[in-house]
Protein backbone atom coordinates (compact mmCIF):
# COMPACT_ATOMS: atom_id res chain seq x y z
CA UNK A 1 0.00 0.00 0.00
CA UNK A 2 2.90 2.36 0.80
CA UNK A 3 4.37 1.77 -2.66
CA UNK A 4 0.98 2.42 -4.22
CA UNK A 5 0.63 5.73 -2.43
CA UNK A 6 4.18 6.71 -3.36
CA UNK A 7 3.53 5.96 -7.02
CA UNK A 8 0.29 7.89 -6.89
CA UNK A 9 2.04 10.86 -5.33
CA UNK A 10 4.76 10.73 -7.95
CA UNK A 11 2.21 10.57 -10.74
CA UNK A 12 0.50 13.69 -9.48
CA UNK A 13 3.76 15.48 -8.82
CA UNK A 14 4.86 14.80 -12.40
CA UNK A 15 1.87 16.74 -13.65
CA UNK A 16 3.63 20.01 -12.97
CA UNK A 17 1.76 22.18 -15.45
CA UNK A 18 -1.69 21.31 -14.14
CA UNK A 19 -0.47 21.54 -10.58
CA UNK A 20 1.06 24.97 -11.19
CA UNK A 21 -2.19 26.26 -12.64
CA UNK A 22 -4.12 24.90 -9.67
CA UNK A 23 -1.66 26.48 -7.25
CA UNK A 24 -2.09 29.87 -8.89
CA UNK A 25 -5.84 29.68 -8.29
CA UNK A 26 -6.02 28.01 -4.89
CA UNK A 27 -5.84 30.11 -1.73
CA UNK A 28 -2.57 30.95 -0.09
CA UNK A 29 -2.41 29.69 3.51
CA UNK A 30 -2.87 33.25 4.81
CA UNK A 31 -6.21 33.45 2.97
CA UNK A 32 -7.72 30.52 4.83
CA UNK A 33 -6.29 30.73 8.34
CA UNK A 34 -9.85 31.27 9.54
CA UNK A 35 -10.69 27.68 8.54
CA UNK A 36 -8.47 26.54 11.41
CA UNK A 37 -10.57 28.42 13.97
CA UNK A 38 -12.61 25.98 16.09
CA UNK A 39 -15.92 27.57 15.11
CA UNK A 40 -19.00 26.53 17.00
CA UNK A 41 -21.73 25.90 14.44
CA UNK A 42 -24.68 26.02 16.83
CA UNK A 43 -25.60 29.38 18.38
CA UNK A 44 -27.23 27.97 21.51
CA UNK A 45 -24.16 25.81 22.12
CA UNK A 46 -21.90 28.83 21.59
CA UNK A 47 -23.87 30.78 24.20
CA UNK A 48 -23.54 27.90 26.67
CA UNK A 49 -19.78 27.79 26.13
CA UNK A 50 -19.50 31.59 26.33
CA UNK A 51 -21.28 31.52 29.69
CA UNK A 52 -18.98 28.80 30.98
CA UNK A 53 -15.86 30.65 29.81
CA UNK A 54 -17.21 34.11 30.70
CA UNK A 55 -16.36 35.63 27.33
CA UNK A 56 -18.35 37.24 24.50
CA UNK A 57 -19.51 35.47 21.35
CA UNK A 58 -18.03 36.43 17.99
CA UNK A 59 -21.07 35.62 15.85
CA UNK A 60 -20.62 35.28 12.07
CA UNK A 61 -23.83 34.76 10.10
CA UNK A 62 -24.14 34.26 6.33
CA UNK A 63 -26.79 33.05 3.91
CA UNK A 64 -25.02 29.68 3.53
CA UNK A 65 -23.01 27.47 5.84
CA UNK A 66 -20.15 29.96 6.43
CA UNK A 67 -17.38 27.39 6.38
CA UNK A 68 -18.69 25.57 3.31
CA UNK A 69 -19.26 28.46 0.93
CA UNK A 70 -17.87 31.95 0.94
Amino acid sequence: MKNLMLLASLAVAMDDDLGAKASAIKPAPREITWLGVPWVLNLAEAQKMAREEKRPIFLWVTGDDPLERC
Binding site: L4, K21, L41, N42, V61
Partner: protein
Protein backbone atom coordinates in the same frame (compact mmCIF):
# COMPACT_ATOMS: atom_id res chain seq x y z
CA UNK B 1 -16.34 32.32 21.45
CA UNK B 2 -16.26 31.99 17.63
CA UNK B 3 -19.64 30.94 16.21
CA UNK B 4 -20.33 30.53 12.47
CA UNK B 5 -23.99 30.15 11.65
CA UNK B 6 -26.17 29.65 8.58
CA UNK B 7 -28.84 32.37 8.51
CA UNK B 8 -31.57 30.10 7.19
CA UNK B 9 -30.80 27.24 9.55
CA UNK B 10 -30.67 29.43 12.66
CA UNK B 11 -34.01 31.00 11.76
CA UNK B 12 -35.66 27.58 11.93
CA UNK B 13 -33.68 26.10 14.84
CA UNK B 14 -35.67 24.60 17.71
CA UNK B 15 -32.94 24.47 20.36
CA UNK B 16 -33.05 28.11 21.50
CA UNK B 17 -30.70 29.37 18.78
CA UNK B 18 -33.59 30.96 16.84
CA UNK B 19 -34.85 33.01 19.79
CA UNK B 20 -31.34 34.19 20.65
CA UNK B 21 -30.63 35.16 17.05
CA UNK B 22 -33.90 37.07 16.68
CA UNK B 23 -33.10 38.95 19.90
CA UNK B 24 -29.64 39.80 18.54
CA UNK B 25 -31.15 41.06 15.29
CA UNK B 26 -33.68 43.20 17.16
CA UNK B 27 -30.88 44.84 19.14
CA UNK B 28 -28.73 45.54 16.07
CA UNK B 29 -30.67 45.18 12.87
CA UNK B 30 -28.51 43.71 10.14
CA UNK B 31 -29.35 40.96 7.66
CA UNK B 32 -26.13 39.02 8.24
CA UNK B 33 -22.51 39.75 9.09
CA UNK B 34 -20.76 39.99 12.45
CA UNK B 35 -22.17 40.58 15.92
CA UNK B 36 -20.21 40.66 19.18
CA UNK B 37 -22.59 39.40 21.86
CA UNK B 38 -22.28 38.97 25.62
CA UNK B 39 -22.94 35.50 27.10
CA UNK B 40 -26.29 36.85 28.29
CA UNK B 41 -27.26 37.80 24.73
CA UNK B 42 -26.60 41.54 24.81
CA UNK B 43 -25.22 42.92 21.54
CA UNK B 44 -21.96 44.78 22.19
CA UNK B 45 -21.14 45.71 18.58
CA UNK B 46 -21.74 44.55 15.03
CA UNK B 47 -20.84 45.03 11.40
CA UNK B 48 -22.72 44.41 8.17
CA UNK B 49 -21.03 46.64 5.59
CA UNK B 50 -17.46 47.79 5.12
CA UNK B 51 -16.58 51.38 4.22
CA UNK B 52 -13.52 50.20 2.30
CA UNK B 53 -13.34 46.52 1.37
CA UNK B 54 -9.53 46.73 1.17
CA UNK B 55 -9.50 47.84 4.80
CA UNK B 56 -12.10 45.28 5.83
CA UNK B 57 -9.92 43.44 8.33
CA UNK B 58 -9.06 46.70 10.09
CA UNK B 59 -12.73 47.69 10.25
CA UNK B 60 -13.57 44.26 11.65
CA UNK B 61 -10.89 44.61 14.32
CA UNK B 62 -12.43 47.97 15.25
CA UNK B 63 -15.79 46.23 15.66
CA UNK B 64 -14.21 43.59 17.89
CA UNK B 65 -12.40 46.24 19.95
CA UNK B 66 -15.67 48.13 20.38
CA UNK B 67 -17.33 44.99 21.70
CA UNK B 68 -14.47 44.19 24.04
CA UNK B 69 -14.44 47.74 25.44
CA UNK B 70 -18.10 47.29 26.29
CA UNK B 71 -17.58 43.79 27.75
CA UNK B 72 -14.32 44.27 29.62
CA UNK B 73 -11.05 42.33 29.61
CA UNK B 74 -10.98 38.66 28.63
CA UNK B 75 -8.21 36.09 28.72
CA UNK B 76 -7.10 34.71 25.33
CA UNK B 77 -8.58 31.31 24.47
CA UNK B 78 -6.20 28.42 23.87
CA UNK B 79 -8.35 26.14 21.73
CA UNK B 80 -7.07 23.12 19.86
CA UNK B 81 -7.10 23.44 16.05
CA UNK B 82 -10.21 21.88 14.57
CA UNK B 83 -11.16 20.33 11.26
CA UNK B 84 -14.87 20.99 10.99
CA UNK B 85 -15.15 19.73 7.41
CA UNK B 86 -13.34 16.38 7.48
CA UNK B 87 -14.91 15.18 4.22
CA UNK B 88 -14.40 18.38 2.21
CA UNK B 89 -12.16 17.32 -0.67
CA UNK B 90 -11.22 14.12 1.11
CA UNK B 91 -12.44 10.57 1.62
CA UNK B 92 -15.50 8.59 0.67
CA UNK B 93 -18.51 8.60 2.96
CA UNK B 94 -20.34 5.44 4.01
CA UNK B 95 -22.95 5.85 1.26
CA UNK B 96 -20.25 6.13 -1.41
CA UNK B 97 -20.65 9.88 -1.89
CA UNK B 98 -17.78 12.35 -1.95
CA UNK B 99 -17.45 16.10 -1.50
CA UNK B 100 -15.16 17.88 -3.93
CA UNK B 101 -13.33 20.93 -2.59
CA UNK B 102 -13.91 23.87 -4.92
CA UNK B 103 -11.86 27.04 -5.29
CA UNK B 104 -12.27 29.90 -7.72
CA UNK B 105 -11.27 33.46 -8.33
CA UNK B 106 -10.75 36.05 -11.04
CA UNK B 107 -7.41 35.58 -12.73
CA UNK B 108 -4.96 37.33 -15.05
CA UNK B 109 -2.13 36.07 -17.23
CA UNK B 110 -1.25 32.62 -18.48
CA UNK B 111 -0.21 33.58 -22.01
CA UNK B 112 -2.06 34.72 -25.10
CA UNK B 113 -1.89 31.23 -26.58
CA UNK B 114 -4.59 30.34 -24.03
CA UNK B 115 -7.08 32.98 -25.21
CA UNK B 116 -10.46 31.48 -26.15
CA UNK B 117 -11.51 31.99 -29.77
CA UNK B 118 -14.42 34.32 -29.03
CA UNK B 119 -12.46 36.91 -27.03
CA UNK B 120 -12.21 40.38 -28.58
CA UNK B 121 -8.64 41.57 -29.34
CA UNK B 122 -9.10 44.52 -26.98
CA UNK B 123 -9.41 42.06 -24.11
CA UNK B 124 -6.30 40.05 -24.97
CA UNK B 125 -4.22 41.91 -22.36
CA UNK B 126 -6.03 39.89 -19.69
CA UNK B 127 -3.83 36.92 -20.68
CA UNK B 128 -0.51 38.82 -20.51
CA UNK B 129 2.09 37.73 -17.96
CA UNK B 130 2.22 34.78 -15.63
CA UNK B 131 -0.99 33.23 -14.38
CA UNK B 132 -1.90 35.09 -11.19
CA UNK B 133 -4.87 35.89 -8.94
CA UNK B 134 -6.90 39.03 -9.59
CA UNK B 135 -9.43 38.80 -6.81
CA UNK B 136 -10.42 37.20 -3.54
CA UNK B 137 -10.76 33.45 -3.23
CA UNK B 138 -14.11 31.67 -3.49
CA UNK B 139 -14.53 28.48 -1.48
CA UNK B 140 -17.26 25.92 -1.97
CA UNK B 141 -17.97 22.20 -1.84
CA UNK B 142 -19.71 20.00 -4.38
CA UNK B 143 -21.32 16.79 -3.24
CA UNK B 144 -21.37 13.89 -5.70
CA UNK B 145 -23.52 10.85 -5.02
CA UNK B 146 -21.98 7.39 -5.35
CA UNK B 147 -23.25 6.84 -8.89
CA UNK B 148 -22.02 10.29 -9.97
CA UNK B 149 -18.60 9.68 -8.42
CA UNK B 150 -18.37 6.30 -10.15
CA UNK B 151 -18.59 8.06 -13.50
CA UNK B 152 -15.07 9.44 -12.98
CA UNK B 153 -13.63 5.92 -12.86
CA UNK B 154 -12.71 4.10 -16.07
CA UNK B 155 -14.83 1.24 -17.31
CA UNK B 156 -11.93 -0.28 -19.21
CA UNK B 157 -8.48 -0.29 -17.60
CA UNK B 158 -6.17 -0.02 -20.56
CA UNK B 159 -4.21 2.91 -21.92
CA UNK B 160 -6.18 4.79 -24.53
CA UNK B 161 -9.63 3.81 -23.23
CA UNK B 162 -11.99 6.78 -23.39
CA UNK B 163 -15.38 7.63 -21.95
CA UNK B 164 -17.72 10.56 -21.62
CA UNK B 165 -19.14 11.40 -18.22
CA UNK B 166 -22.92 11.81 -17.97
CA UNK B 167 -24.08 15.32 -18.81
CA UNK B 168 -25.84 15.51 -15.44
CA UNK B 169 -22.46 15.11 -13.72
CA UNK B 170 -20.79 17.69 -15.96
CA UNK B 171 -23.65 20.10 -15.31
CA UNK B 172 -23.01 19.97 -11.57
CA UNK B 173 -19.59 21.51 -12.26
CA UNK B 174 -21.20 24.57 -13.92
CA UNK B 175 -20.93 26.26 -10.54
CA UNK B 176 -17.19 26.67 -11.25
CA UNK B 177 -17.85 29.17 -14.04
CA UNK B 178 -18.54 31.88 -11.45
CA UNK B 179 -16.35 33.20 -8.66
CA UNK B 180 -19.38 34.42 -6.72
CA UNK B 181 -20.51 32.59 -3.61
CA UNK B 182 -23.84 34.41 -3.45
CA UNK B 183 -26.63 31.95 -4.22
CA UNK B 184 -28.41 34.48 -6.43
CA UNK B 185 -25.33 34.90 -8.64
CA UNK B 186 -24.11 31.30 -8.78
CA UNK B 187 -24.87 29.39 -11.98
CA UNK B 188 -26.95 26.28 -11.44
CA UNK B 189 -26.68 22.97 -13.35
CA UNK B 190 -29.74 23.88 -15.42
CA UNK B 191 -28.06 27.14 -16.55
CA UNK B 192 -25.56 25.23 -18.69
CA UNK B 193 -26.09 25.35 -22.43
CA UNK B 194 -23.00 23.20 -22.87
CA UNK B 195 -21.62 20.84 -20.22
CA UNK B 196 -19.22 18.21 -21.50
CA UNK B 197 -16.59 16.23 -19.65
CA UNK B 198 -14.57 13.48 -21.31
CA UNK B 199 -11.87 11.22 -19.94
CA UNK B 200 -9.26 8.76 -21.05
CA UNK B 201 -6.77 6.37 -19.50
CA UNK B 202 -3.32 7.75 -20.12
CA UNK B 203 -1.36 4.86 -18.64
CA UNK B 204 -1.64 1.77 -16.50
CA UNK B 205 1.55 0.85 -14.67
CA UNK B 206 2.45 -0.81 -11.38
CA UNK B 207 -1.18 -1.00 -10.29
CA UNK B 208 -1.80 2.69 -10.96
CA UNK B 209 -3.90 4.12 -13.78
CA UNK B 210 -3.38 7.75 -14.68
CA UNK B 211 -6.61 9.29 -15.96
CA UNK B 212 -6.97 12.51 -17.90
CA UNK B 213 -10.00 14.76 -18.29
CA UNK B 214 -11.01 17.54 -20.62
CA UNK B 215 -14.24 19.48 -20.63
CA UNK B 216 -16.05 22.59 -21.75
CA UNK B 217 -18.99 24.56 -20.42
CA UNK B 218 -21.17 27.49 -21.42
CA UNK B 219 -23.86 28.98 -19.25
CA UNK B 220 -26.32 31.85 -18.92
CA UNK B 221 -27.57 32.62 -15.45
CA UNK B 222 -30.26 35.13 -14.52
CA UNK B 223 -29.37 36.90 -11.28
CA UNK B 224 -32.35 36.44 -8.94
CA UNK B 225 -34.26 35.11 -11.95
CA UNK B 226 -34.36 38.61 -13.46
CA UNK B 227 -34.29 38.48 -17.28
CA UNK B 228 -32.69 41.93 -17.26
CA UNK B 229 -29.69 40.64 -15.25
CA UNK B 230 -28.10 37.82 -17.24
CA UNK B 231 -24.59 36.56 -16.63
CA UNK B 232 -22.75 34.74 -19.41
CA UNK B 233 -19.89 32.36 -18.71
CA UNK B 234 -17.74 29.87 -20.57
CA UNK B 235 -14.87 27.68 -19.47
CA UNK B 236 -12.71 24.77 -20.41
CA UNK B 237 -11.19 22.34 -17.96
CA UNK B 238 -8.34 19.90 -17.89
CA UNK B 239 -7.71 17.38 -15.22
CA UNK B 240 -5.96 14.31 -13.98
CA UNK B 241 -6.69 11.51 -11.57
CA UNK B 242 -4.92 8.59 -10.02
CA UNK B 243 -6.82 5.30 -9.94
CA UNK B 244 -5.88 2.27 -7.84
CA UNK B 245 -6.26 -0.68 -10.21
CA UNK B 246 -6.17 -3.39 -7.55
CA UNK B 247 -8.37 -1.55 -5.09
CA UNK B 248 -10.69 -0.37 -7.90
CA UNK B 249 -10.92 3.05 -6.36
CA UNK B 250 -9.94 6.63 -7.05
CA UNK B 251 -6.94 7.95 -5.14
CA UNK B 252 -7.05 11.58 -6.28
CA UNK B 253 -8.77 13.94 -8.70
CA UNK B 254 -7.77 17.41 -9.88
CA UNK B 255 -9.77 19.51 -12.34
CA UNK B 256 -8.55 22.99 -13.32
CA UNK B 257 -10.94 25.40 -15.04
CA UNK B 258 -10.10 28.44 -17.14
CA UNK B 259 -12.95 30.66 -18.19
CA UNK B 260 -14.49 34.01 -18.87
CA UNK B 261 -17.57 35.65 -17.43
CA UNK B 262 -19.47 38.75 -18.38
CA UNK B 263 -22.55 40.31 -16.90
CA UNK B 264 -25.60 42.21 -18.08
CA UNK B 265 -24.86 42.44 -21.78
CA UNK B 266 -23.39 40.09 -24.34
CA UNK B 267 -21.00 42.88 -25.35
CA UNK B 268 -19.93 43.77 -21.78
CA UNK B 269 -16.20 43.47 -20.99
CA UNK B 270 -15.21 40.03 -19.78
CA UNK B 271 -13.51 38.96 -16.60
CA UNK B 272 -11.29 35.92 -16.51
CA UNK B 273 -11.99 33.14 -14.08
CA UNK B 274 -10.01 30.21 -12.79
CA UNK B 275 -11.31 27.37 -10.68
CA UNK B 276 -10.19 24.12 -9.14
CA UNK B 277 -12.09 21.03 -8.06
CA UNK B 278 -10.03 18.56 -6.10
CA UNK B 279 -10.34 15.44 -4.02
CA UNK B 280 -8.06 12.84 -2.51
CA UNK B 281 -8.73 9.54 -0.86
CA UNK B 282 -6.92 10.29 2.42
Amino acid sequence: MPAAVNLYKVRSATDGSRELFLSIQRQKDQYQGIWIVSPEGKVLSGRHDYKDFNQGSIELLETMDEGLREFGPVEPRRPKPANLLPFRGKGVQADGSVSLALYGRQMLGGGRNAIPADVEPAQAWLWDGVLRPDGPIMLDSLDLQANEWAAFAPGKLEAGATWRLPEAVARKLTRLLSTSSDQSCMPKPEDAGVAELEAWVESVECGIAILRFTGRWQMMHLVEGDVKRPTYGAATAEGSAVYDVEGKSMRSLLLVFSGTIRSDRRDAPINRTGAVAEWRAK
